[in-house]
């Protein structure tokens, strides 16, 4: 009877071929011959598209959980999670409303009642959205109390404030989409306020609502803003935000 290959044999064979080595670049922990040396630790960051957001080395004090509480990272994680759950919800949602064609609201009922994992994913999306507003807000407070916006990081703070506003807009545009009483009237409160913008009030409100009052056109407009336009702008500002962290010399401090 032939000897069965051991786990290490199989692992070695899987890792030691052209395809595997083309996927995992040198320094990857999944590549054969990874050793816990300074060189491979550096390569692990340098040769990975995601880890490359980070520098190869970070200040030791920044590792302390009570310095950052990971708030910026968690905000980004919430953004990713909301993107993933949001895409799932988009499969089952049509932004159509109006007398006789209350598709959006019916879709919401179906997501809760008959879509597999629909209710769970919707819950994740809803609570994730609230959590993201909260973590972004806490992140801002953390940065302020550490004086981390001081030179050379002034502009990155400005980008951060823009991202906070974008987060609020993302959350608020999503608030209308269930097209229930809660959504309609919460958004009415908000858009009525916008109507009081000095000079351009009526125009601002008209553009936001796609008409004189909240209706099917508003739903479509806010849907596009929510799933496409604001995320697109947010990603651009996120890229600048992350890039500036590196360019401004990494995380601030120590105090």
């Amino acid at each position: 009877m032939p000897k069965l290959p051991t786990y290490d044999d199989v692992k070695g064979n899987v890792q030691d071929n052209v395809i595997w080595k083309s996927i995992f670049r040198p320094g990857s922990i999944y590549r054969k011959g990874y050793r816990d040396t300074s060189r491979d630790r550096a390569l692990a960051s340098m040769n990975n598209v995601l880890y490359h957001l980070h520098p190869v080395k970070v200040k030791r004090h920044g590792l302390k959980l009570t310095y950052t509480y990971c708030l910026g990272g968690l905000s980004f994680f919430m953004f990713i999670l909301l993107t993933v759950t949001g895409i799932f919800l988009m499969f089952f949602y049509t932004p159509a409303a109006g007398a006789g064609t209350e598709v959006a609201y019916l879709n919401m009922r179906e997501i809760s009642a008959s879509v597999t994992f629909g209710q769970l994913v919707r819950n994740l999306h809803r609570w994730g959205a609230h959590a993201m507003v909260f973590t972004v807000f806490l992140h801002m407070a953390r940065v302020f109390y550490h004086g981390a916006y001081k030179p050379p990081r002034e502009f990155n703070w400005v980008v951060g404030v823009i991202l906070l506003v974008l987060t609020l807009l993302l959350s608020f545009t999503g608030y209308l989409l269930p097209w229930d009483q809660l959504a309609l009237w919460a958004v009415t409160v908000g858009t009525n306020m916008m109507g009081f913008t000095p000079v351009f009030g009526d125009q601002v409100q008209f553009v936001l609502l796609g008409g004189m009052e909240i209706g099917p056109d508003t739903l479509l407009r806010w849907y596009v803003l929510h799933v496409l336009f604001i995320p697109f702008v947010t990603v651009i500002f996120l890229a600048v935000h992350f890039w500036r962290i590196r360019k401004d010399g990494g995380i601030s401090g120590p105090l």
């Binding site: 960051s45 819950n123 609570w127 229930d180 306020m193 601030s252």
Partner: protein, 279 residues
């Protein structure tokens, strides 16, 4: 990973004895151990000696042949050593010409026409093009595994908390939107409740547009207004106090708006009329 590199204890003890820091001694001892292991394997180490390198260069030139390889032999290394390790501009250009292999005649950048070289990587950096970075040596650690591990655990913790919340708490879904039926309790999402609460005191143009606009602009202006270079809490009492006041004020507005306002936006006590709040 398990195959942690051993350190050369002898080197380590010697360096500690010389008064080197623990970190440096450990690094050097580690390097010594790796070097020994490589020698044991029979591998050649590090860069070649200057003589070997010069010989290899000559050999390469011979091989390239006919490419105008004048190989201007400069006495630069010796002179450079005398001059504190720096080359004069003339020496440097002579060196560059030599390594380009065209003796400063211009032409084809020294790439021989009949050569089995396929390409040559070369970068000439003028001194003005070098960005001078002056920063203090800091205590740093490798991102992998130290930072990424922390981030991964934070991500898992936040993800599980959210999953548990999503499993037990259902997102609200009211009845179908009806523009003709104003609900008794009519509130914005919680993060806008501060604005809605302001609306109870001010004209909408002030509460809904001007004040939030001013707040956002003030936030953006903070780093340009706060000229205090210190980041230590004890040196920035005014800034911290102002920001804390701002946060408290805003938090209070949100709490009042969310929990203490009921039908018709009248003041209620949640333990009397119930919680008029939906997330």
């Amino acid at each position: 990973m398990s195959d942690e590199v051993q350190i050369d204890q002898e080197v380590y003890d010697r360096l500690i004895g010389e008064g080197k820091s623990e970190r440096i001694a450990r690094a050097k001892a580690k390097a010594a151990a790796v070097r020994q292991a490589k020698v044991a394997e029979g591998a050649s180490l590090g860069p070649k000696s200057p003589e070997d390198a010069a010989k290899a260069l000559e050999a390469a030139k011979e091989k390239a042949g006919g490419g105008g390889g004048v190989a201007t032999k400069t006495a630069a290394p010796a002179e450079a050593q005398a001059g504190g390790g720096r080359l004069t501009p003339e020496e440097r250009s002579a060196r560059v010409a030599a390594s380009l292999g065209n003796g400063g005649n211009g032409g084809s950048m020294g790439v021989p026409t009949s050569s089995d070289h396929t390409h040559r990587l070369l970068a000439l950096v003028p001194p003005a093009g070098i960005q001078q970075v002056q920063s203090k040596q800091m205590d740093k650690v490798y991102t992998w595994p130290h930072l990424l591990l922390v981030e991964f655990v934070a991500l898992l913790a936040a993800g599980s908390l959210l999953l548990i919340a999503a499993f037990f708490l259902d997102a609200p879904l009211g009845s179908l939107a009806n523009p003709n039926e104003v609900p008794a309790i009519n509130k914005a999402p919680w993060y806008f409740m501060g604005l809605q609460e302001l609306l109870a005191y001010f004209h909408p143009m002030v509460a809904g547009v001007t004040l939030p606009g001013v707040f956002v602009l003030l936030l953006m202006a903070a780093p340009y207004v706060d000229k205090n270079p210190s980041a230590k809490p004890e040196n920035r009492k005014v800034a911290n106090l102002a920001f804390t006041f701002f946060l408290t004020f805003w938090g209070l507005l949100v709490i009042i708006g969310s929990f203490l306002r009921g039908a018709g936006y009248a003041w209620v006590w949640p333990w009397v009329q119930g919680l008029g709040f939906t997330l």
